[in-house]
Symmetry: C2
């Protein structure tokens, strides 16, 4: 029997690391998950990961041919195959090719989570068949991946696509990066909470959100309140979409994409976020781009998107 | 004797159209110029152009082998090989491949002037050897060309790189495009004049610029006044560089270029424009990009840049 070609996809998260065997079709034939234990460094994570994986793979290997290892990780540099001081992991500077070499001698590639999501979208999701698009991940922060001519844009030093830290309000909200007014302080799960708090201070409308402290409130609560037509929650989505849409109009002027694809926690609010985003993007677009750029929701299953994306890294390179 | 391979480069301007034979090395072995006569349409221009060119070429053709025709023109679409309603020419919609076919049957390519300048810079100018850069033309308006992985970014429909119409001030200056606050209303020859007028209204400092009406003042006057340390003129350059630098910080976050190259009339002010641009770009950059992106002046001779760029279009395609 012919063996099935698979890539080992690994997605390193702040809390969990998931991994799996992905066929080129996107079929996930094996899945694993371990704690990341970010404080203990990278070596211990990969020791534990490959111990578990190798044991499982023994029982599968008759059926599979492993073709490579694709990794999605925070602060990953595609060119240098490094991870450099990721914000929530006590890793410092890690050469990931050397790390993986200890376990398997196969092609390996690495990129950050947002770029991996964009690749996954292009191979398996809402961007199938597109050659020019922007993928925006609206999670705790904002991640973005830019695809031009069917390829991810890494730029001169591997860090292109940092839309999170484009400045949308001079002297605006304080950002974790040290600047003020960065897009991700407005357009993200954290950003919409900050917007809700501004609105609670600004307006007198009754709102169920008045019951929650800053530390207790989540973007999920705002979403559910908006579904019940809570005026503060509805307005928070409207403003979030407005700021995101205005920023995207400028991104479109740079790149002329076919679509912008929204992914991640906040994107699961669907129309609540896409409608104001589209409206305010259109309002600010240069006329050559009007009514030409779609705002789409990701069609990747959120649980598997990172794995699909990191394995897509290898499938793209093997092409 | 072996014939020299050349491309016919054509640069269609609002007033003049220049054309020439360009070798791959950038050597210009023949140059011509005619009035554009924008009101009379495209056909008459190309009739006159090829009549003149063919006559001259007869006397040269023993030495040259013509390999293609590269055209730089306003509102040119690279993919469709069209020119679509250029602002200063009464052309409407023109299929440029059909236009050129009447005269020569050779590979032809077309793009807008700013993209052509970026290509020229990459083949012959300050961006030689670079694979990731942004070219900004600071003329009457602002033009821009984006290069990623050694190739111009055209985007989904051929109109990428419209940084002129990214909005940098909500409800800011009125722009010819119908919007307000577009970058080119600040960072261009016209933009710096508007800034000087704002400053003349805002400040009491004595200035030689107080002698000129809006219609009489030119960016050249502001430049010369700044060289004499005129406080309004100096501040006008400072503010222009600030707004351009802030906008470029956001462009860098998208694209992670190796350099931004400034070209055109305002760029000839040199340090007066590059110093504040660099300073304010750095101030607004995400830390991953700080001290990594150069601001350079074009090294193309301004008179030949458009010809070099439009012929580079063909040399790139023949590679």
């Amino acid at each position: 029997m012919e063996k099935r070609k698979v890539v080992l996809g690994i997605d390193v998260g702040g809390t969990n690391t998931v991994f799996g065997l992905v066929e080129k079709s996107g079929f996930l034939s094996y899945r694993g998950r371990i704690d990341t234990r970010g404080q203990a460094g990278a070596q211990q994570l990969f020791d534990r990961l490959f111990e578990l994986f190798n044991k499982d793979y023994q029982s599968l290997s008759g059926n599979f041919e492993l073709c490579g290892v694709g990794i999605g990780a925070p602060n990953a540099n595609y060119y240098k195959k490094t991870v450099e001081n990721p914000p929530n992991l006590n890793w410092g500077f890690v050469k990931m090719d050397k790390m993986v070499e200890q376990f398997v001698e196969l092609p390996m590639a690495i990129t950050n989570d947002a770029n991996a999501a964009a690749l996954g979208e292009m191979m398996y999701g809402a961007a199938r068949g597109m050659k020019h698009f922007i993928q925006i991940t609206l999670g705790t922060g904002l991640g973005s991946g830019i695809v031009v001519d069917g390829k991810l844009v890494y730029g001169f030093d591997g860090f292109a696509g940092e839309l999170a830290h484009t400045i949308v309000f001079k002297n605006g909200r304080q950002c974790g990066c040290g600047s003020r007014g960065c897009l991700e302080t407005y357009a993200s799960a954290t950003g919409i909470k900050r917007t809700a708090f501004e609105l609670l201070a600004l307006e007198n409308a009754a709102s169920e959100l008045r019951e929650f402290s800053f530390n207790k409130m989540t973007s999920r609560m705002i979403f559910e309140a908006a579904l019940r037509n809570d005026p503060i929650a509805v307005e928070a989505f409207e403003l979030t979409g407005k700021i995101l849409g205005e920023a995207l109009a400028n991104s479109v002027a740079h790149l002329s994409p076919e679509a912008v694809i929204l992914f991640g926690g906040l994107a699961s609010a669907g129309e609540l976020i896409t409608r104001p985003t589209k409206k305010h993007m259109e309002k600010n677009l240069f006329h050559a781009f009007r009514n030409r750029v779609q705002i789409l929701l990701s069609s990747l299953p959120e649980a598997d998107a990172a794995l699909l994306g990191s394995s897509a890294l290898i499938w793209q390179e093997l092409q």
